[in-house]
Symmetry: C2
């Protein structure tokens, strides 16, 4: 049943997920499936086929099945996937079946927007600490969260068991903020500054570069191109 052939991945044992390295695109699509399943569940579908998911998200059915197959066999031949259960499984794979404590560095425009961003909260990402280096902001209260001095980051990370740090400071200050987070033992960083940060091995960094996306649009407009299907 569980076609999981435990595999060794270098040396020791290796988990569930593996033998083959899961690609970044597969993980991204898992997020997509998760959101689609939430919607489908709300629409009353008890069962969903790879075709349904594919049509809804503009992918191919084979792609959906292949992605899911890396993690196990969740479907029933002839029937499809049980909506609710598949959603639960994907939530477990993505780790959104738990709460993550998130620290935010930077209480500026983007930072403020993120504190109110519903989608984070809905998925269990709870911002419970905000850091800044502006003395005028420190000590003040933002949506019920006190803004701390970035100097106290390590202490707060420990005290509040913060696992993820979001960087929302200007580009010039971003590497320093990143270093502070790494120094405090953080292993996952989401960066909104338009700059390539350096992190040591073992720390996962994702950079959300909004300028890059709008430049892509400008490229297609400039070159009269048909959009490259995403």
């Amino acid at each position: 049943m569980n076609s999981r052939r435990a595999k060794s991945d270098g040396d020791g044992d290796r988990p569930v997920i593996s033998r083959r390295r899961i690609s970044e695109s597969t993980i991204r699509r898992l997020s997509i499936y998760y959101r689609a399943l939430s919607a489908l569940e709300g629409e009353g579908y008890h069962t969903v086929s790879s075709k349904d998911l594919a049509r809804r998200e503009k992918l191919t059915p084979a792609q959906v099945r292949k992605d899911l197959s890396f993690f196990g066999s969740f479907g029933t031949r002839g029937l499809g996937y049980p909506t609710k259960e598949l959603k639960t499984r994907i939530a477990a794979i993505l780790g959104v079946d738990q709460t993550w404590n998130v620290g935010l560095i930077g209480a500026g425009n983007i930072g403020s927007a993120l504190v109110s961003y519903k989608e984070f909260q809905k998925q269990g990402f709870v911002i419970n600490a905000i850091f800044d280096n502006d003395q005028r902001k420190i000590g003040s209260n933002h949506k019920g969260i006190v803004i701390s001095d970035i100097k106290d980051l390590a202490a707060e990370v420990k005290k509040r068991n913060i696992q993820i740090v979001v960087i929302a400071v200007p580009a010039a200050a971003a590497q320093q903020a990143c270093d502070v987070a790494v120094e405090a033992g953080i292993k996952a960083i989401l960066n909104f500054a338009p700059i390539n940060l350096k992190v040591p091995n073992g720390v996962t960094l994702r950079t959300e570069n909004m300028a890059m996306e709008i430049e892509y649009l400008s490229f297609t407009l400039t070159n009269h191109m048909r959009p490259i299907p995403t």
Copy 2:
């Protein structure tokens, strides 16, 4: 020197850029090179090699050369690329050598943050219209830009020659906002709502999904994985 050699798109001749389809990843990296070159120029480098660029952005030299080669031969063997000129060339390719008029739909948290986002302005993306459907917001002034009723979007698009629309409304309202933009003739849309929007052929849509990025982090933390190099 607008090096844009007009091209027909389907049968006839094909431009500079092309004959081979430029991949999305190449375009993204062009944005990266552009930013790196701006920095290098500021640091006083007159010349830069593919190796320099690669090291700086954690890519391979071959990748840099291959990407650039799709658009022409900008370098000198033995020497490298002229920093300033390469930057100018890439700016022309990306279309950031001109000003783009951007309309923003949604005057909420994310929308407000975008209006103040320096990186957009720096690259020539000027938000000069804001739309909302909340009567309390309409008519008020946000950073010098009057908030208009979304009903007037088509008229404003025409009047202000708006070429790009940014959607920053809740997921439930996003498709409708998108339809309005498409109806007004917009060909490039940047969407911040966590939902897969439908657009007709000929319209380029990019979706910036912040939840997806943080879920990726949660995945790596959950699975004790080494980060997949980006």
